[in-house]
């Protein structure tokens, strides 16, 4: 028997009637046609399907769409910089060649953003450990680590700048 789910995806409310066995990843890809969220495995290891659920990185292939009832979801399509261009993490991946075939990239970027939001100045070991839920077969991770380091510095600077600006206005 189908069920109805509603959530907010990339700032827009969505509602759909689905088979209960629909995974969140399937819901995003097939119902919403947001195909930037990729599926690379069936046992929850590769992380290509990583999205933010209520602000936390989760694997969209490892959760039912029904479990996300009422949640706020961010997928790669909703990730943007303050100016509407690339987010600092996306820009750093490009700058440091942190992607090749691009298939793991959306999940990698989503997890990396969440990682940096929780560790403002992550050391290399913290980044490597923090990315252990995302498999990449192309890059050997070397440039991904560099990209995350660079993005972290940029995001920290942006946060500081934003704080100063707010302080100045107050």
């Amino acid at each position: 028997m189908n069920i109805t789910v509603s959530m907010t995806v990339n700032g827009k409310p969505v509602t759909a009637e689905i088979d209960p066995r629909t995974l969140l990843a399937q819901f995003i890809r097939e119902n919403l046609r947001l195909t930037g969220t990729h599926v690379g495995c069936d046992t929850g290891q590769c992380g290509a399907c990583t999205v933010h659920l209520n602000g936390h990185a989760v694997k969209a292939c490892n959760i039912l769409a029904a479990q996300a009832q009422g949640a706020t979801l961010l997928t790669i399509e909703g990730v943007r910089g303050v100016d509407g261009g690339l987010h600092p993490m996306q820009a750093a991946f490009r700058e440091h060649h942190g992607l090749q075939c691009g298939f793991c990239t959306p999940g990698m970027v989503m997890n990396a953003i969440d990682l940096v939001q929780r560790h403002l100045h992550p050391a290399e070991e913290v980044i490597r450990a923090g990315l252990d839920g995302n498999l990449c077969r192309c890059t050997g991770y070397h440039n991904i680590v560099k990209a995350v380091q660079a993005a972290a510095a940029r995001m920290a600077a942006d946060t500081t700048a934003a704080t100063l600006k707010q302080g100045g206005q107050a």
């Binding site: 195909t35 495995c41 069936d42 290891q45 790669i76 060649h97 992607l99 050997g140």
Partner: protein
């Protein structure tokens, strides 16, 4: 003078779409009326199919059709062909058993396709597949190449009763035997080159459709070479004229060899799309990828190196048994032969080499090219032997290599190849410096104080890339040409679209090929777009594998550019009222030599498309040229890798703490992209050495490493940051001077890692360790080597 474009780390044009989730991979393609396919796969390694009852499945909700091997046989769908004929030591052709896209009569490996269900939804297809009743008579299976030829081994194909596809040899056996008789020292090793599963992160997928209007098929598929896919599927399997099948390989999420081949699934759904009259999508689940993607490596080898008293190599003798799996995949037969034995000279002057290869069938997934494809196996043989010989003879490991390096070029090896250029001493010297080998002893001591065993290992590798001179390949058994095609379309206002037969699935061709064009035409990189992966748009192509894209595909583009410029000279001469001989093309303009009179490329292009003032009597309008390029030789990238490991002797855990690679890829178009290719290759090479190994149960033939829960794919925290460098000896026989870089890391790294592990343990008496050097294997090696410890 324009700023140089070649040699610059220009950021990739393709990245924006990948970073914003707007790429189009095969599974992202959804066609109106699309149905979904689920393949029922064999749960057994070897079984007779007594019968298949699909009646319940056909009646299940949402099911559109169910097909089995019998249906395909009735429709005269042929088996999947092998693209390379190997002739055995007796002059006989290899055994080529049939490879039906859906099993007929027997299944021969776990995951073999038995039937396909096509339904409205994927869940319905899967539910129905479970309702198919297959009456199996389970038979004993053989999975290891070492067991395949043992008396009484279960037979995979009746046409090869000893499970032998071929016994093949290369080299002068008599000369080798003589050299061994006179050797001062012989080093012998026996080892397994572990079986690997490629694991591109995008699983294989296909979307097939058939249009009654023009009786034509369209196939979106995860392919590294859509034209080859079309040729094989249309001409050999489905019996279709090629113009009725369009194959599109859109964004492809990694390949590493595994997406070169024509597979059963896309063939079946292409055929079925006409039967059901609706588009069909199939996407592999990762578990299916593990079972059904072509695997790599899987050699058992005995290798011997003969040396004189000074450590000069006299001869090399190699006997390898290579596992081909249950069926011959598209290029399976040439990997452990043509791409393996020919590389056994390595970087050395070894005067006599003999290699015998026995290729066997087993009840496992087909084995074919995986990143490096034969060359990592050859490098492992040579570099493990060299390092072991050095230790046995008490010669420094770098010194023994330098003593044997080839230093004059061109150099004809005793195993068929002719190296055009190289400077092996330079890469080794640079690697030693970059790796700070001088500081190693101090690091080893510091590690010992922390209770860790530290070791350092070298690997100096050669590869043959830029496949290949078609005539030579043909003489060696290739059933296809190995040229590449390219087309340059200069648009009326001077921007350019490049159509290439090479396929990019991570390599960055959209950027690097654009750099080549921008450089030659003197226009901004932004004005050049590269189109690939569509037989409907590109004249022809042989695709991407064997690190061939820039060397062969790039050269085809250069040849087409030469034609564009030559035609532009004629147009410009007309416009400038000068003699053609006086026109020079430089910095994006055609100029009358010695004057400032010139026409830009855009002006010439406009004249070509608006030919009002144009030599129409002598010249066609338009500025669109194509070229096919067939290389005259292979290219020979080479390099030196140095690995440093630390081992925890209590647990056997091995950590790569330093990895240095200095490579010679000839001229480099985009250093950033090249470094990325090296990093990725190294990760796969280190993965092979320490983590990855495909394991089948020797009794049941079940795949024991069928998910990421059991197959250890390297993660970010398994690897160090790499130190990479390059030295440059330009290739002598292509205009760009390029050699290719895609596989180098995977070729050089495994031997470097294992040499480092053995170095760390050598003082305990450890001489060899099997890949992957898992913690337990290392722990056992330590324990059994330590005197006084119970085994």
């Amino acid at each position: 003078m324009n700023a140089p474009v070649i040699g610059q780390s220009i950021k990739r044009k393709e990245d924006y779409r990948f970073l914003t989730g707007t790429g189009t991979y095969t599974d992202d393609v959804t066609l109106p009326g699309q149905t979904h396919a689920c393949f029922l796969r064999s749960p057994h390694a070897h079984a007779k199919i007594r019968g298949i009852d699909t009646s319940r499945a056909r009646a299940a909700p949402g099911v559109v059709a169910v097909f089995t091997g019998e249906d395909l046989a009735r429709a005269r769908v042929n088996g999947l062909p092998c693209g390379w004929l190997i002739t055995d030591v007796n002059g006989q052709p290899m055994k080529e058993p049939p490879h039906p896209p859906l099993a007929q009569g027997k299944v021969r490996h776990v995951g073999d396709q038995v039937a396909v269900v096509i339904a409205e939804t994927l869940n319905q297809a899967k539910d129905a597949a479970e309702l198919i009743e297959v009456d199996y008579e389970v038979l004993p299976a053989v999975v290891s190449p070492a067991d395949a030829r043992k008396p009484g081994a279960p037979v995979v194909h009746d046409s090869a009763p000893d499970n032998t596809c071929y016994v093949w040899a290369l080299g002068d056996k008599v000369a080798v035997d003589q050299a061994f008789a006179q050797a001062a020292h012989v080093t012998t090793l026996e080892f397994i080159n572990n079986r690997l599963i490629p694991n591109a992160i995008e699983p294989r997928a296909a979307v097939a459709s058939y249009a009654r209007a023009d009786d034509a098929y369209t196939l979106y598929v995860t392919s590294q070479n859509p034209h080859v896919e079309r040729l094989l599927m249309a001409a050999f399997v489905l019996g279709l004229p090629e113009h009725k099948l369009r194959v599109i390989a859109p964004d492809v999420g990694g390949g590493f060899g595994s997406k070169i081949y024509l597979y059963a699934e896309e063939t079946v759904i292409t055929w079925a799309a006409k039967q059901v009259g609706r588009p069909i999508k199939w996407t592999a689940e990762r578990s299916e990828s593990f079972m059904s993607d072509a695997h790599g490596r899987d050699h058992v080898t005995r290798a011997e190196l003969a040396l004189d008293q000074d450590g000069k190599f006299l001869a090399l003798r190699v006997a390898t048994t290579a596992n081909l799996g249950a069926y011959l995949s598209t290029f399976a037969s040439c990997i452990p032969t043509i791409l393996y034995a020919t590389l056994l000279a390595g970087q050395y002057t070894t005067p006599a080499i003999y290699c015998e290869v026995t290729a066997v069938f087993t009840h496992t997934a087909p084995v074919d090219a995986y990143r490096g494809a034969g060359r990592p196996e050859a490098t492992y043989v040579v570099e493990r032997l060299v390092e072991t010989a050095a230790r046995e003879m008490g010669i420094d490991r770098a010194t023994i290599r330098r003593r044997n390096f080839i230093t004059t070029f061109p150099y004809q090896t005793p195993v068929a190849l002719c190296y055009d250029t190289g400077n092996y001493d330079a890469t080794l010297t640079a690697a030693i410096e970059l790796a700070d080998v001088a500081g190693f002893e101090a690091r080893r001591k510091a590690a010992a104080q922390r209770g860790k065993l530290r070791g350092l290992g070298y690997s100096t590798y050669i590869e043959a890339c830029g496949l290949a001179p078609s005539n030579i390949a043909g003489a060696l058994g290739a059933r296809a040409g190995l040229f590449e095609a390219g087309e340059i379309r200069v648009h009326p206002t001077g921007s350019v679209t490049v159509f290439t037969g090479s396929h990019s699935h991570g390599q960055g061709h959209e950027t690097t090929f654009a750099q080549v064009v921008a450089d030659r035409l003197g226009i901004p990189v932004e004005n050049v777009d590269v189109v690939h992966g569509d037989t409907g748009r590109i004249l022809f192509g042989m695709g991407t594998y064997g690190s061939r894209s820039i060397a062969v595909g790039g050269t085809a583009i250069v040849k087409a550019l030469d034609k564009v410029i030559a035609k532009g000279v004629k147009i410009a001469a007309h416009l400038l009222e000068a003699a053609e001989a006086d026109i020079e093309f430089r910095d994006g303009a055609f100029q009358v030599a010695g004057t400032d009179r010139k026409k830009t490329l855009a002006e010439v292009a406009l004249a070509a498309y608006v030919p009002h003032n144009y030599p129409l009597d002598r010249l066609e309008p338009g500025l669109n040229e194509s070229a096919f390029y067939d290389p005259t030789n292979f290219t020979y990238p080479a390099g030196s890798h140095i690995c440093e490991v630390e081992i925890d002797p209590e647990t056997g855990v091995t950590q790569v703490v330093n990895f240095t690679a200095v490579d010679d890829f000839g001229k480099i178009i985009n250093p950033m992209v090249v470094e990325g290719q090296v990093h990725g290759g190294l990760a796969q090479g280190i993965g092979q050495a320490l983590l990855e190994g495909c394991v089948y149960d020797p009794e049941s033939g079940q795949l024991l490493t069928g998910t990421y829960m059991d197959y250890a794919l390297p993660r970010a925290d398994d690897l160090p940051s790499f130190k990479v460098g390059t030295r440059e000896t330009p290739c002598t026989h292509n205009p760009l001077g390029v050699k290719g870089c895609g596989e180098a890391g995977a070729i050089g790294a495994p031997a470097a890692v294992i040499n480092a592990v053995v170095d760390a343990l050598a003082h305990l008496g450890v001489r060899d360790i099997e890949m992957p050097a898992t913690p337990e294997r290392v722990w056992r090696a330590i324990r059994s080597a330590r005197p006084g410890k119970k085994a």
